[in-house]
Protein backbone atom coordinates (compact mmCIF):
# COMPACT_ATOMS: atom_id res chain seq x y z
CA UNK A 1 0.00 0.00 0.00
CA UNK A 2 1.17 3.47 -0.82
CA UNK A 3 0.14 6.84 0.54
CA UNK A 4 -0.95 7.77 -2.97
CA UNK A 5 -3.62 5.06 -2.75
CA UNK A 6 -5.42 7.16 -0.13
CA UNK A 7 -5.19 10.57 -1.65
CA UNK A 8 -8.06 11.56 -3.93
CA UNK A 9 -10.08 8.47 -3.05
CA UNK A 10 -12.81 7.59 -0.63
CA UNK A 11 -10.43 7.66 2.28
CA UNK A 12 -13.14 7.05 4.86
CA UNK A 13 -13.80 3.68 3.31
CA UNK A 14 -10.11 2.88 3.16
CA UNK A 15 -9.59 3.87 6.79
CA UNK A 16 -12.36 1.60 7.94
CA UNK A 17 -10.89 -1.19 5.89
CA UNK A 18 -7.49 -0.60 7.42
CA UNK A 19 -8.98 -0.68 10.90
CA UNK A 20 -10.86 -3.88 10.20
CA UNK A 21 -7.86 -5.50 8.58
CA UNK A 22 -5.69 -4.63 11.58
CA UNK A 23 -8.25 -6.44 13.71
CA UNK A 24 -8.44 -9.34 11.29
CA UNK A 25 -4.73 -10.08 11.38
CA UNK A 26 -4.43 -9.55 15.12
CA UNK A 27 -4.82 -13.22 16.01
CA UNK A 28 -2.03 -14.23 13.71
CA UNK A 29 0.37 -11.35 14.21
CA UNK A 30 -0.46 -9.62 17.52
CA UNK A 31 0.75 -6.43 15.91
CA UNK A 32 -1.60 -4.05 17.73
CA UNK A 33 -1.99 -3.16 21.38
CA UNK A 34 -4.84 -0.64 21.15
CA UNK A 35 -7.23 -0.30 18.25
CA UNK A 36 -8.55 3.19 17.54
CA UNK A 37 -11.88 3.32 15.75
CA UNK A 38 -11.42 5.93 13.03
CA UNK A 39 -15.07 6.97 12.95
CA UNK A 40 -14.69 9.96 15.27
CA UNK A 41 -11.71 11.28 13.37
CA UNK A 42 -13.44 10.75 10.02
CA UNK A 43 -16.16 13.15 11.18
CA UNK A 44 -13.56 15.94 11.23
CA UNK A 45 -12.84 18.00 8.15
CA UNK A 46 -9.52 16.59 7.03
CA UNK A 47 -6.95 18.54 5.05
CA UNK A 48 -3.28 18.14 4.29
CA UNK A 49 -0.65 16.04 2.64
CA UNK A 50 -1.84 12.91 4.50
CA UNK A 51 -5.51 13.63 4.08
CA UNK A 52 -7.39 10.53 5.21
CA UNK A 53 -4.31 8.33 5.31
CA UNK A 54 -4.50 5.54 7.89
CA UNK A 55 -1.46 5.48 10.15
CA UNK A 56 -0.39 3.35 13.11
CA UNK A 57 1.73 4.62 15.97
CA UNK A 58 4.20 2.60 18.02
CA UNK A 59 2.78 2.47 21.54
CA UNK A 60 5.55 4.68 22.95
CA UNK A 61 4.05 7.68 21.16
CA UNK A 62 1.89 9.68 23.59
CA UNK A 63 -1.68 10.10 22.39
CA UNK A 64 -4.00 12.30 24.40
CA UNK A 65 -6.88 10.42 26.03
CA UNK A 66 -5.77 7.18 24.39
CA UNK A 67 -4.02 4.54 26.47
CA UNK A 68 -0.27 4.54 25.86
CA UNK A 69 1.56 1.60 27.38
CA UNK A 70 5.02 1.26 25.82
CA UNK A 71 4.15 -2.44 26.02
CA UNK A 72 4.80 -2.48 29.73
CA UNK A 73 2.55 -3.63 32.54
CA UNK A 74 3.59 -0.61 34.54
CA UNK A 75 1.79 1.63 32.05
CA UNK A 76 -1.07 -0.66 31.14
CA UNK A 77 -3.63 1.88 32.40
CA UNK A 78 -1.79 5.12 31.58
CA UNK A 79 -3.78 7.75 29.64
CA UNK A 80 -1.66 10.70 28.50
CA UNK A 81 -3.05 14.21 28.95
CA UNK A 82 -1.14 15.49 25.93
CA UNK A 83 -0.20 14.50 22.37
CA UNK A 84 3.34 13.92 21.20
CA UNK A 85 4.58 16.60 18.83
CA UNK A 86 4.49 14.25 15.85
CA UNK A 87 0.85 13.43 16.60
CA UNK A 88 0.08 17.15 16.31
CA UNK A 89 1.90 17.18 12.96
CA UNK A 90 0.12 14.08 11.68
CA UNK A 91 -3.24 15.45 12.72
CA UNK A 92 -2.50 18.76 11.06
CA UNK A 93 -1.84 16.94 7.78
CA UNK A 94 -5.11 15.03 7.97
CA UNK A 95 -3.83 11.61 8.99
CA UNK A 96 -6.16 9.08 10.62
CA UNK A 97 -4.60 7.10 13.43
CA UNK A 98 -6.11 3.62 13.62
CA UNK A 99 -4.01 1.95 16.27
CA UNK A 100 -1.13 1.83 18.76
CA UNK A 101 1.22 -0.90 17.71
CA UNK A 102 3.11 -3.57 19.61
CA UNK A 103 6.74 -3.18 20.60
CA UNK A 104 9.43 -4.51 22.91
CA UNK A 105 8.73 -3.42 26.47
CA UNK A 106 9.83 0.21 26.87
CA UNK A 107 11.50 -0.14 23.43
CA UNK A 108 14.32 -2.06 25.06
CA UNK A 109 14.87 -4.99 22.77
CA UNK A 110 15.48 -6.07 19.19
CA UNK A 111 13.00 -8.90 18.83
CA UNK A 112 9.57 -7.76 20.06
CA UNK A 113 9.66 -10.84 22.26
CA UNK A 114 9.62 -8.83 25.47
CA UNK A 115 6.24 -7.08 25.14
CA UNK A 116 3.85 -7.40 28.08
CA UNK A 117 1.17 -7.97 25.46
CA UNK A 118 2.92 -10.88 23.82
CA UNK A 119 5.23 -11.27 20.89
CA UNK A 120 4.78 -10.13 17.32
CA UNK A 121 4.75 -12.52 14.35
CA UNK A 122 6.38 -11.93 11.00
CA UNK A 123 3.88 -11.79 8.08
CA UNK A 124 6.33 -13.65 5.83
CA UNK A 125 6.48 -16.56 8.25
CA UNK A 126 4.34 -16.49 11.36
CA UNK A 127 6.78 -18.75 13.17
CA UNK A 128 9.40 -16.04 12.98
CA UNK A 129 9.94 -12.83 14.87
CA UNK A 130 9.08 -9.47 13.43
CA UNK A 131 12.15 -7.99 14.99
CA UNK A 132 12.00 -5.01 17.33
CA UNK A 133 11.60 -2.93 19.14
CA UNK A 134 9.16 -1.40 16.60
CA UNK A 135 7.79 -4.83 15.63
CA UNK A 136 4.09 -4.03 15.46
CA UNK A 137 4.58 -1.03 13.19
CA UNK A 138 6.80 -3.01 10.82
CA UNK A 139 4.22 -5.78 10.63
CA UNK A 140 1.26 -3.47 9.95
CA UNK A 141 3.03 -1.96 6.96
CA UNK A 142 4.44 -5.29 5.74
CA UNK A 143 1.00 -6.92 6.02
CA UNK A 144 -0.54 -4.23 3.83
CA UNK A 145 -2.74 -2.82 6.59
CA UNK A 146 -1.45 0.77 6.58
CA UNK A 147 0.89 2.59 4.21
CA UNK A 148 2.86 4.07 7.06
CA UNK A 149 3.53 3.34 10.71
CA UNK A 150 5.62 5.28 13.19
CA UNK A 151 8.37 3.64 15.22
CA UNK A 152 11.47 4.63 17.14
CA UNK A 153 15.08 3.67 16.67
CA UNK A 154 17.66 3.69 19.45
CA UNK A 155 20.01 0.94 18.33
CA UNK A 156 18.31 -0.18 15.12
CA UNK A 157 14.73 -0.64 16.26
CA UNK A 158 13.23 0.58 13.00
CA UNK A 159 15.92 -0.50 10.57
CA UNK A 160 16.25 -4.09 11.77
CA UNK A 161 12.54 -5.02 11.76
CA UNK A 162 12.33 -3.28 8.38
CA UNK A 163 14.86 -5.81 7.10
CA UNK A 164 13.06 -8.77 8.66
CA UNK A 165 9.66 -7.65 7.41
CA UNK A 166 10.74 -6.54 3.95
CA UNK A 167 9.72 -2.89 4.20
CA UNK A 168 11.38 0.52 4.14
CA UNK A 169 12.48 1.70 7.58
CA UNK A 170 13.84 5.19 8.17
CA UNK A 171 15.80 6.69 11.04
CA UNK A 172 16.56 10.33 10.17
CA UNK A 173 19.27 12.55 11.69
CA UNK A 174 19.17 13.15 15.43
CA UNK A 175 16.96 16.11 16.23
CA UNK A 176 15.34 16.04 12.78
CA UNK A 177 12.06 14.83 14.28
CA UNK A 178 10.99 16.09 17.71
CA UNK A 179 11.06 13.56 20.55
CA UNK A 180 8.56 15.48 22.67
CA UNK A 181 5.98 12.96 23.75
CA UNK A 182 7.94 9.86 22.81
CA UNK A 183 8.36 7.60 25.84
CA UNK A 184 12.14 7.42 25.97
CA UNK A 185 14.62 4.60 26.02
CA UNK A 186 18.02 6.36 25.84
CA UNK A 187 17.77 10.09 25.25
CA UNK A 188 21.07 10.58 23.44
CA UNK A 189 20.37 7.66 21.10
CA UNK A 190 16.58 7.79 20.58
CA UNK A 191 15.25 8.78 17.18
CA UNK A 192 11.69 8.86 15.91
CA UNK A 193 11.50 6.68 12.80
CA UNK A 194 8.86 5.15 10.54
CA UNK A 195 8.02 2.43 8.04
CA UNK A 196 6.63 2.67 4.51
CA UNK A 197 6.50 0.28 1.56
CA UNK A 198 8.42 2.55 -0.79
CA UNK A 199 11.04 5.30 -0.86
CA UNK A 200 8.82 8.07 -2.23
CA UNK A 201 6.44 7.70 0.71
CA UNK A 202 9.42 7.66 3.04
CA UNK A 203 10.61 10.97 1.62
CA UNK A 204 7.15 12.51 2.00
CA UNK A 205 6.82 11.31 5.60
CA UNK A 206 10.08 13.01 6.51
CA UNK A 207 8.69 16.32 5.22
CA UNK A 208 5.61 15.89 7.39
CA UNK A 209 7.35 14.82 10.58
CA UNK A 210 10.44 17.06 10.55
CA UNK A 211 11.06 20.50 11.88
CA UNK A 212 12.12 22.52 14.89
CA UNK A 213 10.08 21.98 18.08
CA UNK A 214 11.01 24.38 20.89
CA UNK A 215 9.82 21.86 23.48
CA UNK A 216 12.68 19.53 22.51
CA UNK A 217 15.99 21.20 23.33
CA UNK A 218 17.83 18.82 21.00
CA UNK A 219 15.54 19.66 18.09
CA UNK A 220 17.31 20.78 14.94
CA UNK A 221 16.97 24.19 13.26
CA UNK A 222 18.13 22.74 9.93
CA UNK A 223 15.66 23.62 7.18
CA UNK A 224 13.30 20.85 6.06
CA UNK A 225 13.75 20.20 2.37
CA UNK A 226 11.19 19.01 -0.17
CA UNK A 227 12.63 15.52 -0.04
CA UNK A 228 9.91 13.83 -2.07
CA UNK A 229 9.82 16.49 -4.78
CA UNK A 230 13.58 16.52 -5.14
CA UNK A 231 13.87 12.73 -5.27
CA UNK A 232 16.25 11.73 -7.99
CA UNK A 233 17.37 8.16 -8.67
CA UNK A 234 20.28 9.31 -10.79
CA UNK A 235 23.28 8.27 -8.71
CA UNK A 236 25.96 9.06 -11.27
CA UNK A 237 29.18 9.88 -9.41
CA UNK A 238 27.63 9.36 -6.00
CA UNK A 239 30.30 7.85 -3.77
CA UNK A 240 29.21 4.73 -1.94
CA UNK A 241 31.35 3.11 0.73
CA UNK A 242 31.05 -0.63 1.24
CA UNK A 243 31.27 -1.59 4.90
CA UNK A 244 33.72 -4.46 4.61
CA UNK A 245 33.83 -5.41 8.30
CA UNK A 246 30.12 -6.25 8.19
CA UNK A 247 30.46 -8.32 5.06
CA UNK A 248 33.37 -10.19 6.52
CA UNK A 249 31.34 -11.05 9.60
CA UNK A 250 28.35 -12.45 7.72
CA UNK A 251 28.38 -16.23 7.41
CA UNK A 252 25.41 -16.50 5.08
CA UNK A 253 26.87 -16.51 1.57
CA UNK A 254 23.47 -15.93 -0.04
CA UNK A 255 23.20 -12.59 1.63
CA UNK A 256 26.70 -11.68 0.62
CA UNK A 257 25.88 -12.62 -2.96
CA UNK A 258 22.66 -10.61 -2.96
CA UNK A 259 24.57 -7.65 -1.64
CA UNK A 260 27.38 -7.92 -4.15
CA UNK A 261 24.89 -8.08 -7.03
CA UNK A 262 23.35 -4.91 -5.70
CA UNK A 263 26.72 -3.23 -5.57
CA UNK A 264 27.41 -4.24 -9.17
CA UNK A 265 24.07 -2.76 -10.21
CA UNK A 266 24.89 0.48 -8.44
CA UNK A 267 28.22 0.59 -10.19
CA UNK A 268 26.42 0.15 -13.49
CA UNK A 269 24.27 3.13 -12.59
CA UNK A 270 27.40 5.23 -12.33
CA UNK A 271 28.07 5.20 -8.61
CA UNK A 272 31.66 5.26 -7.41
CA UNK A 273 32.24 2.32 -5.12
CA UNK A 274 34.92 2.27 -2.48
CA UNK A 275 35.57 -0.33 0.18
CA UNK A 276 36.15 0.80 3.74
CA UNK A 277 37.28 -1.00 6.80
CA UNK A 278 36.99 0.17 10.33
CA UNK A 279 39.20 -0.85 13.17
CA UNK A 280 37.79 -4.26 14.19
CA UNK A 281 38.53 -3.78 17.88
CA UNK A 282 36.63 -0.54 17.80
CA UNK A 283 33.66 -2.17 16.10
CA UNK A 284 33.60 -5.02 18.58
CA UNK A 285 33.56 -2.54 21.43
CA UNK A 286 30.63 -0.73 19.89
CA UNK A 287 27.86 -3.02 21.09
CA UNK A 288 29.06 -3.16 24.72
CA UNK A 289 29.50 0.62 24.64
CA UNK A 290 25.97 0.97 23.33
CA UNK A 291 24.65 -1.40 25.96
CA UNK A 292 26.26 0.54 28.77
CA UNK A 293 25.22 4.01 27.57
CA UNK A 294 21.70 2.99 26.57
CA UNK A 295 20.90 1.10 29.74
CA UNK A 296 22.42 3.75 32.00
CA UNK A 297 20.31 6.48 30.41
CA UNK A 298 17.26 4.24 30.34
CA UNK A 299 17.49 3.47 34.03
CA UNK A 300 17.47 7.17 34.86
CA UNK A 301 14.72 7.89 32.32
CA UNK A 302 12.38 5.34 33.86
CA UNK A 303 12.86 6.42 37.46
CA UNK A 304 9.53 8.22 37.09
CA UNK A 305 7.70 4.91 36.75
CA UNK A 306 6.74 4.29 40.36
CA UNK A 307 2.94 4.23 40.39
CA UNK A 308 2.54 7.43 42.40
CA UNK A 309 1.41 9.92 39.74
CA UNK A 310 0.32 7.56 36.97
CA UNK A 311 0.51 4.00 35.82
CA UNK A 312 -0.30 0.73 37.44
CA UNK A 313 0.11 1.25 41.21
CA UNK A 314 0.52 -1.75 43.47
CA UNK A 315 -0.37 -1.44 47.14
CA UNK A 316 2.10 -1.19 50.00
CA UNK A 317 2.44 -0.30 53.66
CA UNK A 318 4.87 2.53 52.97
CA UNK A 319 5.54 4.73 49.99
CA UNK A 320 8.78 2.87 49.50
CA UNK A 321 6.84 -0.41 49.38
CA UNK A 322 4.45 1.00 46.83
CA UNK A 323 7.37 1.99 44.61
CA UNK A 324 9.06 -1.38 45.05
CA UNK A 325 5.92 -3.46 44.51
CA UNK A 326 4.86 -1.38 41.54
CA UNK A 327 8.21 -1.64 39.84
CA UNK A 328 8.76 -5.29 40.73
CA UNK A 329 5.44 -6.34 39.26
CA UNK A 330 5.39 -3.68 36.56
CA UNK A 331 8.66 -4.38 34.76
CA UNK A 332 9.45 -7.53 32.80
CA UNK A 333 12.59 -9.48 33.70
CA UNK A 334 14.61 -8.20 30.73
CA UNK A 335 13.97 -4.63 31.83
CA UNK A 336 15.15 -5.32 35.35
CA UNK A 337 18.35 -6.84 34.02
CA UNK A 338 19.09 -3.80 31.95
CA UNK A 339 18.35 -1.46 34.83
CA UNK A 340 20.73 -3.29 37.14
CA UNK A 341 23.53 -3.19 34.59
CA UNK A 342 22.76 0.38 33.57
CA UNK A 343 22.76 1.71 37.08
CA UNK A 344 25.89 -0.27 37.94
CA UNK A 345 27.74 1.63 35.22
CA UNK A 346 26.71 4.95 36.77
CA UNK A 347 28.02 4.41 40.29
CA UNK A 348 30.73 6.90 41.08
CA UNK A 349 33.32 4.18 41.53
CA UNK A 350 32.39 2.59 38.18
CA UNK A 351 31.55 5.57 36.01
CA UNK A 352 35.05 6.24 34.78
CA UNK A 353 35.80 2.74 33.57
CA UNK A 354 32.28 1.93 32.37
CA UNK A 355 29.96 4.80 31.50
CA UNK A 356 32.54 7.41 30.60
CA UNK A 357 34.77 4.89 28.87
CA UNK A 358 31.79 3.87 26.76
CA UNK A 359 31.16 7.53 25.91
CA UNK A 360 34.77 7.92 24.83
CA UNK A 361 34.53 4.84 22.64
CA UNK A 362 31.39 6.40 21.19
CA UNK A 363 33.39 9.44 20.17
CA UNK A 364 36.14 7.36 18.57
CA UNK A 365 33.58 5.41 16.55
CA UNK A 366 31.73 8.51 15.42
CA UNK A 367 34.94 10.27 14.49
CA UNK A 368 35.98 7.32 12.40
CA UNK A 369 32.72 7.00 10.52
CA UNK A 370 32.53 10.76 9.90
CA UNK A 371 36.08 10.85 8.61
CA UNK A 372 35.28 8.05 6.18
CA UNK A 373 32.03 9.67 5.09
CA UNK A 374 33.64 13.08 4.75
CA UNK A 375 34.26 12.72 1.03
CA UNK A 376 31.51 10.19 0.38
CA UNK A 377 27.74 10.04 0.27
CA UNK A 378 26.63 6.69 1.62
CA UNK A 379 27.89 3.87 3.82
CA UNK A 380 26.32 0.62 2.64
CA UNK A 381 25.96 -2.77 4.30
CA UNK A 382 23.46 -5.59 4.65
CA UNK A 383 21.03 -4.68 7.42
CA UNK A 384 21.32 -8.06 9.13
CA UNK A 385 23.41 -11.24 8.92
CA UNK A 386 20.31 -13.31 8.28
CA UNK A 387 16.58 -13.31 7.79
CA UNK A 388 14.16 -13.09 10.71
CA UNK A 389 15.05 -15.74 13.32
CA UNK A 390 12.57 -18.34 14.45
CA UNK A 391 10.58 -17.49 17.52
CA UNK A 392 11.42 -20.82 19.10
CA UNK A 393 14.59 -19.62 20.75
CA UNK A 394 17.80 -19.63 18.89
CA UNK A 395 20.80 -18.93 21.02
CA UNK A 396 23.39 -16.65 19.56
CA UNK A 397 26.98 -16.44 20.64
CA UNK A 398 26.89 -12.95 22.02
CA UNK A 399 30.58 -12.53 21.66
CA UNK A 400 30.94 -13.57 18.03
CA UNK A 401 31.74 -11.05 15.34
CA UNK A 402 28.46 -11.98 13.75
CA UNK A 403 26.69 -10.81 16.84
CA UNK A 404 28.90 -7.88 17.69
CA UNK A 405 29.47 -6.51 14.22
CA UNK A 406 27.13 -7.90 11.62
CA UNK A 407 24.04 -7.93 13.77
CA UNK A 408 24.56 -4.59 15.45
CA UNK A 409 26.51 -2.31 13.14
CA UNK A 410 23.58 -0.01 12.61
CA UNK A 411 24.16 1.41 16.09
CA UNK A 412 26.80 3.59 14.46
CA UNK A 413 24.07 5.84 13.11
CA UNK A 414 22.55 6.24 16.59
CA UNK A 415 25.93 7.04 18.12
CA UNK A 416 26.54 9.82 15.61
CA UNK A 417 22.98 10.89 14.84
CA UNK A 418 23.48 10.07 11.16
CA UNK A 419 20.44 9.48 8.96
CA UNK A 420 20.10 5.79 8.13
CA UNK A 421 17.51 3.65 6.43
CA UNK A 422 16.83 0.10 5.42
CA UNK A 423 15.27 -0.84 2.08
CA UNK A 424 14.40 -4.34 0.84
CA UNK A 425 17.33 -6.00 -0.90
CA UNK A 426 15.85 -9.38 -1.81
CA UNK A 427 14.79 -12.71 -0.36
CA UNK A 428 16.49 -15.81 0.94
CA UNK A 429 14.21 -18.81 1.31
CA UNK A 430 11.32 -16.43 0.66
CA UNK A 431 12.26 -14.37 3.68
CA UNK A 432 13.11 -10.71 3.24
CA UNK A 433 16.53 -9.27 3.81
CA UNK A 434 17.27 -5.55 3.71
CA UNK A 435 20.19 -3.31 2.89
CA UNK A 436 21.20 -0.43 5.14
CA UNK A 437 22.26 3.01 3.91
CA UNK A 438 23.79 5.64 6.17
CA UNK A 439 24.54 9.24 5.15
CA UNK A 440 26.15 12.31 6.69
CA UNK A 441 24.13 14.27 9.25
CA UNK A 442 21.15 16.04 7.64
CA UNK A 443 21.97 14.64 4.21
CA UNK A 444 18.67 12.73 3.97
CA UNK A 445 18.15 13.77 0.34
CA UNK A 446 21.11 11.83 -1.03
CA UNK A 447 20.14 8.90 1.21
CA UNK A 448 16.64 8.82 -0.32
CA UNK A 449 18.10 9.24 -3.82
CA UNK A 450 20.37 6.23 -3.52
CA UNK A 451 17.58 4.29 -1.79
CA UNK A 452 15.33 5.03 -4.76
CA UNK A 453 18.02 3.81 -7.14
CA UNK A 454 18.21 0.56 -5.15
CA UNK A 455 14.42 0.27 -5.18
CA UNK A 456 14.34 0.70 -8.93
CA UNK A 457 16.92 -2.07 -9.29
CA UNK A 458 15.19 -4.54 -6.94
CA UNK A 459 11.70 -3.65 -8.10
CA UNK A 460 10.58 -4.22 -4.51
CA UNK A 461 8.91 -0.84 -4.02
CA UNK A 462 5.44 -1.48 -2.58
CA UNK A 463 6.16 -5.11 -1.72
CA UNK A 464 3.85 -6.47 0.97
CA UNK A 465 2.86 -9.87 2.35
CA UNK A 466 -0.78 -10.61 3.00
CA UNK A 467 -1.32 -12.54 6.20
CA UNK A 468 -4.72 -13.94 5.47
Amino acid sequence: MKIQDYLNTDYAQKCREAYNKAKAIQDKTNATITFIDPQKRLNDKLEGRLKGVAIALKDNVSTRDIKTTAASRILDNYIPQYDAHIVDLLNKEGAVIIGKSNMDELAMGGTNLTSYFGLCHNPYDLSRISGGSSGGSAVLVAANVVPCAIGSDTGDSVRKPASYCGVVGVKPSYGRISRYGIIPYASSLDHVGYFTTNVKDAALMLEVLSGRDDRDMTSSYNPVENYSELLNADIQDKKILIFDNVLAAINNSEIVDLFNSLVTALTDKGAIIEHVSFNDDLLRAMLPAYYIIANAEATANHSNLDGILFGHREEGESTDDIMINTRTKGFGPWIKKRFVVGSYALFEENQERLFRKAQKIRRLIVEEVLSKLKDADILLAPAAPGAAPLIAGQTTDELSDESLIADNHMVIANFGGLPSMTVPMGYIDNLPIGVNLTANPFKEQVMFDVALAIEEYTGLGGAVKEVL
Partner: protein
Protein backbone atom coordinates in the same frame (compact mmCIF):
# COMPACT_ATOMS: atom_id res chain seq x y z
CA UNK B 1 29.14 -10.41 41.80
CA UNK B 2 27.27 -12.14 44.60
CA UNK B 3 23.52 -12.81 44.42
CA UNK B 4 22.97 -10.67 47.50
CA UNK B 5 24.88 -7.77 46.02
CA UNK B 6 22.76 -7.96 42.89
CA UNK B 7 19.56 -8.06 44.89
CA UNK B 8 20.68 -5.00 46.81
CA UNK B 9 21.50 -3.18 43.59
CA UNK B 10 17.95 -3.87 42.45
CA UNK B 11 16.44 -2.70 45.72
CA UNK B 12 18.31 0.57 45.39
CA UNK B 13 16.45 0.93 42.10
CA UNK B 14 13.20 0.21 43.92
CA UNK B 15 12.40 -3.27 42.68
CA UNK B 16 12.92 -6.76 44.00
CA UNK B 17 14.53 -9.73 42.26
CA UNK B 18 13.76 -13.37 42.73
CA UNK B 19 16.69 -15.72 43.25
CA UNK B 20 16.35 -16.94 39.67
CA UNK B 21 16.31 -13.42 38.28
CA UNK B 22 19.35 -12.50 40.35
CA UNK B 23 21.20 -15.58 39.15
CA UNK B 24 20.32 -14.69 35.58
CA UNK B 25 21.78 -11.24 36.06
CA UNK B 26 24.86 -12.71 37.68
CA UNK B 27 25.33 -14.65 34.46
CA UNK B 28 24.79 -11.51 32.43
CA UNK B 29 27.45 -9.72 34.41
CA UNK B 30 29.99 -12.35 33.53
CA UNK B 31 29.16 -12.06 29.85
CA UNK B 32 29.30 -8.31 30.22
CA UNK B 33 32.71 -8.60 31.81
CA UNK B 34 33.96 -10.39 28.73
CA UNK B 35 32.43 -7.74 26.52
CA UNK B 36 33.99 -5.06 28.65
CA UNK B 37 37.37 -6.69 28.09
CA UNK B 38 36.87 -5.41 24.58
CA UNK B 39 36.76 -1.92 26.11
CA UNK B 40 40.22 -2.34 27.47
CA UNK B 41 41.59 -2.86 23.99
CA UNK B 42 40.63 0.66 23.04
CA UNK B 43 43.02 3.44 23.96
CA UNK B 44 40.94 6.39 25.09
CA UNK B 45 43.70 8.60 26.51
CA UNK B 46 42.87 12.25 25.92
CA UNK B 47 39.56 11.34 24.33
CA UNK B 48 36.64 13.41 25.59
CA UNK B 49 33.35 11.70 26.43
CA UNK B 50 30.64 12.05 23.81
CA UNK B 51 27.45 13.05 25.58
CA UNK B 52 25.35 13.96 22.53
CA UNK B 53 25.34 12.61 18.97
CA UNK B 54 26.68 15.96 17.75
CA UNK B 55 28.95 18.45 19.47
CA UNK B 56 26.53 21.27 18.96
CA UNK B 57 25.53 24.18 21.16
CA UNK B 58 22.16 25.84 21.23
CA UNK B 59 21.31 29.41 22.13
CA UNK B 60 17.61 28.86 22.60
CA UNK B 61 16.00 29.81 25.92
CA UNK B 62 12.27 29.75 26.60
CA UNK B 63 10.46 33.06 27.27
CA UNK B 64 9.12 33.27 30.80
CA UNK B 65 5.42 33.49 29.92
CA UNK B 66 2.76 31.10 31.15
CA UNK B 67 1.88 28.69 28.41
CA UNK B 68 0.29 25.28 28.33
CA UNK B 69 -0.27 23.45 31.61
CA UNK B 70 -2.87 21.07 33.05
CA UNK B 71 -5.99 21.68 35.11
CA UNK B 72 -6.11 20.03 38.51
CA UNK B 73 -8.41 17.35 37.10
CA UNK B 74 -6.10 16.57 34.22
CA UNK B 75 -3.08 16.51 36.54
CA UNK B 76 -4.79 13.98 38.82
CA UNK B 77 -6.55 11.95 36.12
CA UNK B 78 -3.96 9.16 36.30
CA UNK B 79 -3.44 9.19 40.08
CA UNK B 80 -4.56 6.09 41.97
CA UNK B 81 -5.40 7.83 45.23
CA UNK B 82 -6.48 11.45 45.59
CA UNK B 83 -7.71 13.46 48.59
CA UNK B 84 -8.74 17.13 48.50
CA UNK B 85 -6.76 17.71 45.34
CA UNK B 86 -3.64 16.07 46.75
CA UNK B 87 -1.90 12.86 45.79
CA UNK B 88 -2.14 10.40 48.68
CA UNK B 89 0.57 7.98 49.76
CA UNK B 90 1.22 6.17 53.04
CA UNK B 91 2.98 8.34 55.61
CA UNK B 92 6.46 9.09 54.34
CA UNK B 93 9.19 8.90 56.93
CA UNK B 94 12.39 10.67 55.93
Amino acid sequence: MEIDEIKKLALDLKFALSDDEARDIQNDFSILDKKLALFDKIDTTNVEEMIYPFDVETSFLREDTVGHYLSQDEALANVAKVKQGHVVVPKVVK
